[in-house]
């Protein structure tokens, strides 16, 4: 059966349809074309025609013309809308018109950069003689040292990532004179990724880049590409500090798309327990795979990916034991393996892939027919991005949203109209965050001495920041200039991303004579998946962890064949270390956030029944950071039942976590909100908001300054939400009669108290 027949059969299947809460049909959209811009250079036309392209989509033409006219452009590009041409055409045109021209392409990961250069070179080859003269190179951690000077001297198009720009290119700009003097175009792809702390860092890297361009006398223009988010132009404007021409009227065609909301059946009526989403996602994807339909399954954790891959592989194993038509894909696989799987998806030799959100980013894997989401991805934007992996230009495609029993999933699946009408999230960032700004001013001072009255990115606060760094002995003022005065390069101390980046190696010791590194994993995930005796699944092969060497950051694993997998419990706790400021019941201080894994469960495959427990002995992962908190007194809870109060507080915490980023201008993942029924330090029920970056980047400082405002906004949001008994927009998973009213009352009391205090 093809997909359409499959969907017909499903519609006739009563048991299936009983679980479907909504079936949305998004009609097909025809392509809209425009001729090549009249000024498009002949070699580019030739190459396009060789590719079988005789016209552009309307949005491509709009973007290319705007950029060729010297404008800064932001293009909103859903998957498969042909975004690459939007920036390669103006770039190549610039190089053809003036061979000394240079361009810088920025991608968030090395993998995407490598993809891009391969694609560029293929296009250059089609341009013939003129194309041969144009050189495109990647420049990142993988570039051989011997090749680097050639890239610096001869690369017309340098393709790199923000981290390399920050720590490799900008501090060594005197070696890149040719690039900086002739820089015409900066391309920032996947610009929607740069939000929150990462985005704030990125914006400052771009400020430093433009500062150096001014020094060398160039004035490049930008082309930014974004997935569908609520505020693409605003985001790009903040990162590039320029007004943007927005191109968002997509002219690419799209076949009909079906979105099916699926809620697994109730298996225990008394307790209201539903069947597991993994098993149902498995059943659904199995049917698709067996019908030869090209399918992608998104799971929420690495473990789920492996468990589902194991199941699906069984279906396609042939007489020779080959099962590579189904593959898993996630962080922790080595780059080569990932490339191989991506290639397989493009050329059709891989028919189904089970992935974490690692495949959500724009890696080219072609277009698949069906997408199964095992659990709601958490935000509207990533749901659409994942669903976008299925969708072909001509034929129909389908996305199944399989809800788990988590409250948020249940809300979405029972209120599909909420999801379908909701606009995607805003991406927020604050380039002027004092801590982040300070870091980049140091880097900028290293790169080029500041003039005494120079304003970094036009910021009035620059002289104060420079004076501060002078007092600290980092800068030295003489003859109207601040000079860098330390031995080390400041950029090496500044990481753009907030994740823990020390990775562990995973080593297969099944063959004692031939140890083999099969993957790596970040420090944060290791305790959960690589503790001793864990069953570690890698590409659906089972291994048992023999030894975890914490000092050397290595996990040694051996191949096994068992009928269970393991799942560890992570415990996160927050402890106050020191108070920096306080005001009544509100305080700002240093906290220790520790996460520890102490036990793991053995789960049987297929039935998912618990076969027993084991203990884990791994040091706690500790992180010092800053937090703002509010201790609550008795009167806040007066006359409210304990359980109801607790439920309301869960809702308030959730609401604070969604509302605070709007005012702190960060991403929700940059902060952590937790509620302690009785905190050890304050001795009272306490609500915490902490920075998620080790050491903190001042988000909680800011939250402390505006705590009352934040609480007031939380109350307002809850009050104005049209739902009756709480929904994911206001209270998250805290539903129930009265909960909205209670939450508002309690916040009112908190505010009264803090005014009184």
């Amino acid at each position: 059966m093809n997909l359409e027949q499959c969907l017909q059969a499903k519609k006739a299947d009563k048991a299936f349809m009983d679980c479907v809460t909504h079936w949305e049909r998004i009609p097909a959209r025809a392509a809209r074309y425009a001729d090549f811009p009249p000024s498009l250079a002949a070699p580019l036309r030739r190459a396009l025609e060789k590719k079988g392209i005789y016209r552009l989509y309307t949005h491509q033409r709009e973007a290319v013309e705007a950029s060729m006219a010297g404008k800064d452009v932001t293009v909103v590009t859903p998957t498969a809308s042909g975004k690459t041409l939007c920036y390669t055409l103006p770039t190549l045109q610039a190089v053809l018109e003036q061979p000394s021209s240079r361009a810088l392409f920025l991608f968030p990961t090395k993998a995407l950069a490598a993809d891009q250069v391969a694609e560029l070179n293929a296009f250059l080859a089609l341009m013939g003689e003129e194309g041969e003269r144009i050189k495109a190179f990647t420049y990142d951690g993988d570039t051989a040292v011997s090749a680097r000077s050639a890239v610096r001297a001869a690369g017309h198009i340098v393709v790199t990532n923000p981290d390399m720009l920050h720590n490799g290119i900008l501090p060594n700009h005197t070696k890149w004179v040719r690039l900086f003097e002739n820089l015409k175009i900066i391309v920032i792809d996947e610009v929607h990724v740069y939000r929150g702390v990462f985005g704030s860092n990125m914006a400052n890297v771009i400020r430093r880049l433009l500062r150096l361009c001014r020094f060398y006398g160039s004035n490049p223009r930008f082309v930014c590409c974004s997935a569908t988010i609520a505020n693409p132009a605003e985001l790009a404007e903040k990162i590039c500090a320029r007004p943007m021409t927005l191109v968002d009227d997509n002219g690419a065609p799209m076949g009909e798309r079906q979105v099916i909301f699926y809620n697994p059946p109730v298996v225990n009526k008394q307790l209201g327990i539903r069947a597991g989403s993994v098993n149902h996602a498995r059943r659904l994807s199995a049917e698709l795979v067996q019908n030869g339909i090209y399918t992608i399954v998104f799971a929420k954790s690495r473990l789920q990916v492996e468990v589902l891959t194991t199941y699906l592989k069984r279906l396609v194993t042939d007489a020779l034991g080959n099962s590579d038509r189904v593959r898993g894909y996630r962080g922790g696989y080595l780059p080569n393996l990932r490339r191989e799987i991506e290639r397989g998806l493009r050329d059709g030799s891989v028919q189904a892939v089970v992935s974490t959100n690692a495949l959500e980013l724009g890696i080219d894997i072609g277009q698949l027919e069906a997408c199964v989401l095992c659990g709601y991805p958490g935000t509207v934007a990533s749901t659409w991005q994942q669903a976008g992996r299925a969708g072909r230009r001509k034929t129909c495609s389908a996305t199944f949203v399989v809800a788990s029993s988590a409250p948020l999933d249940q809300y979405i699946v029972t209120h599909p109209e909420y999801f379908l009408n909701q606009s995607p999230e805003n991406a927020l960032l604050n380039p002027d965050n004092l801590y982040i700004l300070m870091n980049h001013i140091k880097c900028a001072a290293f790169e080029l001495p500041f003039e005494k009255d120079e304003l970094f990115a036009g910021l009035e606060s620059t002289p104060d920041l420079l004076a501060y760094l002078q007092e600290e002995g980092v800068l030295h003022l003489v003859g109207n200039k601040y000079h860098w005065m330390a031995e080390e390069m400041p950029s090496t101390e500044v990481s753009l991303r907030s994740a823990f980046d020390e990775n562990f190696l995973i080593i297969d010791i099944t063959d004692p004579a031939h140890h083999q590194v099969i993957g790596e994993m970040d420090r944060y995930t290791v305790p959960m998946l690589l503790h001793e005796r864990a069953i570690y699944l890698h590409n659906a092969t089972q291994y048992q962890v023999e030894k975890l060497d914490f000092g050397d950051k290595r996990a040694y694993i051996k191949r096994v064949d068992v009928d269970y997998y393991t799942d560890a419990d992570l415990n996160v706790s927050l402890r106050v270390l020191d108070v920096l400021k306080e005001r009544g019941n509100e305080a700002l201080g240093e906290v220790l956030v520790s996460s520890i894994v102490t036990i793991f469960k053995k789960m049987k495959f297929d039935t998912h029944e618990n076969l027993g427990f084991g203990s884990v002995d791994i040091p706690e992962l500790e992180m010092h950071t800053t937090a703002a908190w509010l201790a609550l007194d008795e009167p806040v809870f007066a006359g409210i039942e304990k359980e109801q109060a607790q439920n309301a507080m869960v809702g308030i915490s959730y609401a604070l976590h969604t509302i605070a980023p709007l005012y702190l201008m960060c991403a929700p993942t940059d902060i952590h909100v937790s509620y302690h029924v009785k905190d050890q330090f304050t001795g009272k029920p306490t609500l915490f908001l902490s920075d998620r970056v080790p050491g903190g980047v001042g988000l909680s400082d800011k939250a402390y300054d505006m705590l009352d405002l934040l609480l007031d906004k939380v109350r307002e949001t809850i009050g104005s939400c049209p739902c009756e008994n709480g929904c994911p927009s206001c209270l998250g998973s805290a539903f129930g009669a009265q909960v909205k009213a209670l939450a508002q009352t309690m916040i009112g009391r908190m505010l009264d108290e803090s005014f009184a205090g």
């Binding site: 005197t174 080029l448 007092e471």
Partner: protein, 408 residues
């Protein structure tokens, strides 16, 4: 850190108060000039030939060379080892030969604003020079100065002279003997003197920053002496390297003779290279030099010389498996003496300790055996005469080999 905002507020207040004071008389802008000092060293006259300079791997410099006075020895002291744009050279030493002495002129900046002047005056110090000489300048001093020129918007043309970077020829010539080729180590073990009271390189940036704070020049004198010393040593090292490459047979150390032999061989000076290797015969490096010599003969097609050499090595037990493997190849492919080839292969297997090489030897042995069978009875019959000769050749080697084995 978390109270940064408060500290900034205080600073802003201070600034505001300061701005209330009547503004000081604006001083006319003036280009600050850097400081300069000079040191002179007595120097035995340099005797250099283009041929010797070319052997140091610097053909372009050898062509440009126009007598000792055309050389400029260059060394900088910096505020750090990182290459980034925020690292600065605060002192530049340039040594020029003036008659029987070396004059080291040093420019240094008392503050960052004197950098531009320092760089401009560098061009003056390099006037009339045709060749630059440095130690590790190719990857450190020159890119550093070039970057500083860019930062100060000065043309870096004065730096674009042919360069002799002594680090690389020094490594080629001395690494086998010294292992580490720092300038200090070369001074001690090649030039034969030890520095007294030298300032460690790691302390140098700190000393300059201390001077920025307290203005006391005294501690910096040590830095200048260190730098002048470096520049002076370069001239002595250049002479030593030059002589060593031109007359390697006069060198004392066998390691150095061998190393120069390799350089000469690669430079096409085969005869001199051969003499180097031959001089090592019978000494502690005969295994190494024998291998080199065998390669050299092979390239020249001197098969008989090569066989004689290898047989000598095999009998003396020098060079380990090497002579046996080579002889096995020759007997198998050139002379088609399969039994001899097999015997040497087995001998090599007896001596072999390396797994990958052992693998290759096993394959060779298997192939030889197959070939022998394929050649059939006729060859086997003829072989009885060959056997007698082979015994003689192998006996010595076997005896030595066994002795070697016991020593281990």
């Amino acid at each position: 850190m978390s109270l940064l905002r408060d500290r900034l507020k205080e600073l802003a207040k201070k600034r505001e108060e300061a701005s209330k004071d009547p503004p000081k008389e604006a001083q006319p802008p003036q280009r600050p000039s850097c400081a300069q000092r000079t040191e002179r060293f007595a120097l035995p006259p340099l005797r250099l030939q283009g041929e010797g300079l070319a052997l140091l791997g610097e053909e372009e410099a050898a062509r440009a060379y126009a007598g000792p006075e055309s050389l400029a020895f260059l060394d900088v002291e910096t505020t750090g080892l990182s290459h980034g744009a925020g690292t600065v050279a605060f002192e530049i030493g340039v040594g020029r030969i003036r008659g029987s002495c070396m004059e080291v002129r040093q420019l240094w900046m008392r503050d960052y604003d004197q950098e531009e002047d320092m760089l401009r005056r560098l061009a003056e110090l390099l006037q009339g020079a045709a060749v630059l000489v440095s130690f590790n300048g190719k990857s450190f001093d020159l890119p550093m100065l070039e970057g500083r020129m860019v930062m100060n918007r000065l043309p870096p043309a004065c730096l674009h002279l042919p360069l002799i970077d002594l680090l690389h020829p020094a490594r080629r010539m001395y690494k086998l003997r010294l292992r580490t080729c720092t300038l200090t180590n070369l001074e001690e073990r090649v030039l034969g003197f030890t520095r007294q009271d030298d300032v460690p390189g790691a302390q140098i940036p700190g000393l300059w920053w201390q001077f920025l704070k307290d203005g006391n020049e005294e501690p910096l004198q040590k830095v200048f002496e260190h730098n002048a010393r470096d520049v002076y040593s370069m001239a002595l090292l250049l002479q030593a390297l030059h002589d060593g490459h031109l007359s390697p047979l006069e060198l004392e150390s066998v390691e150095d003779v061998y190393s120069v032999g390799r350089v000469l061989e690669r430079a096409g000076r085969v005869e001199l290279a051969e003499s180097c290797y031959l001089r090592l015969d019978g000494g502690p490096l005969r295994g190494l030099s024998g291998q080199a010599l065998s390669r050299l003969y092979r390239r020249q097609g001197r098969l008989e010389d090569r066989i004689a050499l290898l047989q000598g090595m095999a009998q003396a037990g020098s060079g380990g498996v090497f002579p046996h493997v080579e002889l096995a190849k020759i007997y198998e492919h050139k002379h088609k003496k399969l039994d001899l080839a097999l015997a040497h292969t087995e001998r090599a297997m007896f001596l072999c300790a390396d797994e990958a090489q052992m693998q290759a030897l096993r394959q060779r042995r298997a192939r030889l055996k197959r070939k022998k069978t394929a050649l059939g009875l006729r060859k086997e019959r003829e072989g009885s005469r060959e056997d007698g000769r082979m015994e003689g050749e192998l006996n010595g080697a076997q005896g030595r080999g066994a002795a070697n084995h016991q020593e281990r």
